[in-house]
Symmetry: C2
Subunit: 224 residues, 2 copies
DNA sequence: AAGTATGGAGAGTGAAACTCTCCATAACGG
DNA sequence: CCGTTATGGAGAGTTTCACTCTCCATACTT
């Protein structure tokens, strides 16, 4: 399969594929001549993975690169690669916080401590430096800034307690979907895709539920 | 409070605030002279809302503008404004699908039909044209492309069944957090912030759970 | 009175993700 | 077998976004 075929199979333009090759997000095809190469199923799969991460997950190509590097690095144990991928998939906040208030920085620190407590309280096995902790801390800080707690106070992480049980159930379910006898790359691909896809699906269903209840709560007149 | 004060209170630079004013994401302050205006708490709140939407929710400023317009339009009933805001908060996919495959387009159509069935089956009160349907359809289509179903087949939306009950419970809970006697703007602000913040929190907790279970499943050696 | 800050508006910046243009070489169609 | 189209590779250009910078006439501050 030549590049036009790969483009046809994935719906991604040739120019973009060339760009991905240059950025080495995509392995070069098997060269058959100086200006000819052969692409196969693994390339199709890889392109789909990239697109899923970018379009569904909203990752930057740089982060996609990090995820793929972890997936491709055979020396990295599956669980570690999973950690790297997870961290790369967490949307990053303020790379430099020079403009933010001092009070804000302190709020964030306290939020991190609150998250630590949360993790311990629920007995979660999460790396101390996992990016996802920051993610939860950011949510907590934002909540606090909007009066979900006394002014200047931090909202307690207990507001998130109710999220744990369903998340655990769902995580166990999705992890078990990963085919056991599959090879390393396939396992990781499954977990990566699963993380992103189920996150979007979960968000979508949550919003549907929100609309459902908002209707019951706020609708003055019945829907037309 | 002058613009420097607003900047200090929010951690957003003066230049950026001016930019927000120009883009009319922020109402002008009360003018006290030709080059002097007074900003108050409503401005602080608004800036925080913008930042929460942008940083936490990952919305573009254009989408933030749409959300704010719905929040500010007093002629719009609360529930309708909620719908507009929800739609603006859904990440958009491919504005023009000229490059995508025909098979892809068909897959997407079938996914939409599948989502319709899903919504009906669960008795969800969701607008027929709600953007969130597309969101779920995209997730379903992505799942199908990665072999969660027979090749070329669409994964059934039943894979998402398990998400409904927790989402409904959580939605009811968050909707009830909205203060009843509050005014329209405040109600909307709460629901908007709640949507974004709880979405992030939920995603974070899901990932923690995923890491927890991935450890149990994939770890060869115990954590150091 | 000197110095800094303000509102307003235009122009400029930097990152991200493509997209376009070239070129020497290959493949394909008649 | 020869003109047309496609290919791999690489540099340059484009678009969008979210700022950020520069000016300026005025106003506040000390």
């Amino acid at each position: 399969m030549k590049i036009a075929g790969l483009s046809g199979a994935t719906g991604v333009s040739v120019a973009t594929l060339k760009y991905y090759l240059r950025e080495s997000l995509l392995h070069p095809g098997a060269a058959t001549a100086v200006n000819q190469a052969d692409y196969d199923d693994s390339h199709v799969r890889r392109v789909r993975l990239i697109r899923a991460l970018v379009e569904l997950g909203g990752l930057s190509l740089a982060d996609v690169g990090t995820v793929l590097a972890a997936v491709d690095d055979d020396t990295l144990p599956v669980h570690d690669a999973f950690g790297v991928a997870q961290d790369a998939m967490v949307p990053h906040r303020r790379p430099a916080a020079d403009s933010s208030t001092e009070a804000d920085a302190e709020l964030h620190d306290r939020a991190m401590a609150e998250v630590d407590r949360f993790v311990r309280r629920h007995g979660l096995d999460v790396r101390p430096d996992a990016a996802v902790r920051t993610m939860l801390a950011d949510a907590l800080a934002a909540l606090s800034r909007f009066g979900w707690a006394e002014p200047g106070q931090l909202a307690g992480a207990e507001v998130f307690d109710g999220l744990v049980a369903p998340a655990m159930a769902e995580a166990e379910f999705s992890i078990d979907l990963v085919p056991e006898p599959a090879d390393r790359g396939e396992q990781l691909e499954y977990t990566v895709v699963g993380t992103v896809v189920f996150e979007v699906a979960n968000a979508a269903v949550r919003r549907m539920a929100l609309e459902h209840h908002s209707h019951r709560r706020f609708a003055r007149t019945r829907r037309r």
